[in-house]
């Protein structure tokens, strides 16, 4: 049963990932990305990480890809692209190399004790309480500093975006003058 769930979800993840790369159309690529994210959410549920699965769908599929699509539609770049042209010379070989490097890194993390000092295991987190409680207690006790740092980073990003988009009182940005 677990095995069937894994195979179906993994097939969806891989099909989505290939679709993102191989679609000629940005909107189709974005939709394929949603398929991948859903597959990953199912894999999380199979590992009893319910909270991560829900957040995966809410944040990534429900907000980030929606913003991708929003920008694609608003900027009017929703046209098919010719995959044969290369914008940056030498982009492809470097991409292949980087891909192989990522696969090697994942393999090292998953199959050896060399990186983290222990072999990785799959399955539900042990200890009492529901999955949500376990995630919350480790996030707000042991990893509190990392959590706070992440939120500070996000605030900096938001402030940066506001500063960039701001209409300054003295004359305003060029867009504001034209309209």
């Amino acid at each position: 049963m677990d095995w069937i769930v894994f195979v179906v979800a993994a097939a969806a993840v891989l099909a989505g990932a290939l679709g993102v790369v191989l679609s000629t159309h940005p909107v189709h690529s974005a939709l394929m990305l949603v398929l991948t994210l859903f597959g990953i959410a199912v894999l999380f549920v199979a590992q009893e990480a319910h909270f991560l699965a829900a957040v995966q769908v809410i944040v990534y599929a429900g907000a980030i890809v929606v913003l991708f699509l929003f920008v694609i539609m608003l900027l009017g770049i929703d046209k098919s692209e010719n995959l044969a042209t290369e914008r940056l010379p030498g982009q492809r070989p470097i991409a292949y190399l980087a891909g192989l490097g990522v696969i090697a890194a994942i393999f090292l993390l998953a199959r050896t004790a060399w990186v983290s000092g222990a072999e990785s295991v799959a399955g539900a987190a042990d200890g009492p309480g529901s999955n949500v409680e376990k995630v919350a207690s480790s996030l707000f006790t042991r990893y509190l500093l990392a959590f706070e740092m992440t939120s500070v980073l996000l605030v900096i990003a938001v402030v940066g975006a506001v500063v960039l988009a701001r209409h300054s009182p003295s004359g305003g940005v060029r867009d504001a003058e034209e309209t």
Partner: protein, 382 residues
């Protein structure tokens, strides 16, 4: 925790019960849409001193059925400029989340069927509330892609409006729901209902604010009037579904009304105690369902009432309301409730906590309104 149905392993009877539950929820949603369309037309007619549909069936009850049959026999069109696959996919993307969200709504107590105890609820996942939020996040895709895939100007404008609106109001809605989660201490919808037993309904336990914020945000999420800028006829012809006909259009229509029913059911679950109500000895399993449906009907009436009485918002008013009023208000209220709870756990006097909370709120409100005034003068200068 969890449905007692799965406690003794899964056999054929359990599978059959689950299948029956799926069927019941599906049938309930379909019938409720048929009813809701008729109800909306009749109530609006009453408010406008008209009679409304009165030809098909008694009191025009079968009018929706007649409209549905008519729609299904029409020709399905595919615009020449359309993106064929996405155009066909979009109606399903909007109807599936509408169905799925209802699965976690508890609409009755726990009953016995063929020797198995089971909740009257299709599914009770430990992250039920997050599942609801996920489904409302996914619901954007149907509207957005429908407008884009039509390859036509006005539907595209409608869908761009829709995506910005739904993403904006999701934040306020989540904050309002988080307040309900905070009192129950659980994300499971059934636990939230159980925490409200004995008329400790979140409506008054949390103060009325989260409820009002949820009601407004949910109206915006479902693109119902007065927030139906997505299909503002005067500006956008028919909005995102201008190019749709026949069954595809019927699916959008179905999804819209189903979403109305679902957000009302969620409001009943989170703020009005779901199926809680007076216990009556005669047929004890039936009454919770009756209370649930009664509360649901009140909400549906409120939505129709909104539509009949409120003029449509302008787009900048919509964004101002969402970002500058609802989100700060919902965030402040959530922090205040959290502070009161921490104070209770630590044994602080509640009036000190409340006083400090109100003081912080006053300072925050002052800072926010000063910032907004500043923003307005900048806008005028530019």
């Amino acid at each position: 925790m969890g449905d007692p149905l799965y406690a003794d392993g899964i056999d054929a009877a359990v599978l059959l019960i689950v299948a029956a539950k799926v069927l019941i929820v599906f049938a309930f949603l379909m019938v409720s849409v048929l009813f809701m369309v008729w109800f909306e037309r009749k109530v609006i007619s009453d408010m406008q001193s008209r009679i409304g549909p009165n030809r098909a069936g008694p009191w025009g009850l079968l009018q929706t059925l007649a409209d549905g049959i008519k729609l299904f026999f029409k020709e399905d069109l595919l615009p020449e400029q359309a993106d064929r696959r996405v155009f066909r996919l979009a109606p399903y993307l909007s109807i599936v989340p509408a169905f799925a969200a209802f699965a976690v709504v508890p609409f009755g107590g726990t009953i016995s069927v063929f020797g198995h105890r089971t909740h009257m609820q299709l599914a009770d996942p430990p992250v039920g509330v997050l599942f609801l939020l996920a489904m409302s996040g996914i619901a954007v895709y149907g509207v957005m892609l429908a407008g884009w895939a039509s390859g036509s100007k006005y539907p595209l404008l409608g869908s761009v409006r829709a995506s910005a609106q739904m993403v904006s109001y999701e934040a306020a809605m989540s904050l309002a729901i988080a307040a309900a989660v905070l009192t129950a201490g659980s994300l499971s919808t059934r636990d939230i209902v159980i925490a409200q037993e004995g008329y400790r309904w979140n409506l008054w336990v949390l103060g009325v604010v989260p409820f009002v914020v949820y009601l407004i945000a949910a109206t915006a999420e479902t693109n119902r009037p007065p927030f139906d800028l997505v299909e503002a006829e005067q500006e956008l012809v028919g909005g995102f579904h201008t190019e749709y006909a026949s069954i595809s259009f019927a699916l959008f229509f179905l999804a819209e009304f189903m979403n109305t029913v679902t957000v009302s059911a969620v409001a009943v679950t989170l703020f009005l105690g779901g199926p809680n109500g007076p216990r009556i000895g005669f047929l004890p399993d039936l009454w919770p369902v009756v209370w649930f449906l009664g509360k649901l009907l009140i909400f549906l009436f409120v939505y129709v009432w909104f539509r009949a009485t409120l003029p449509r918002f302008r787009y900048d008013q919509l964004m101002d309301l969402g970002w500058k009023k609802l989100i700060p208000l919902a965030l402040y209220w959530l922090l205040l409730i959290a502070a009161l709870r921490v104070g209770r756990d630590r044994g602080w006097e509640w009036y000190y906590v409340l006083g400090a909370g109100v003081a912080v709120g006053a300072v925050a409100w002052g800072a926010l309104s000063a910032a907004l005034r500043q923003g307005d003068t900048v806008k005028v200068a530019a």
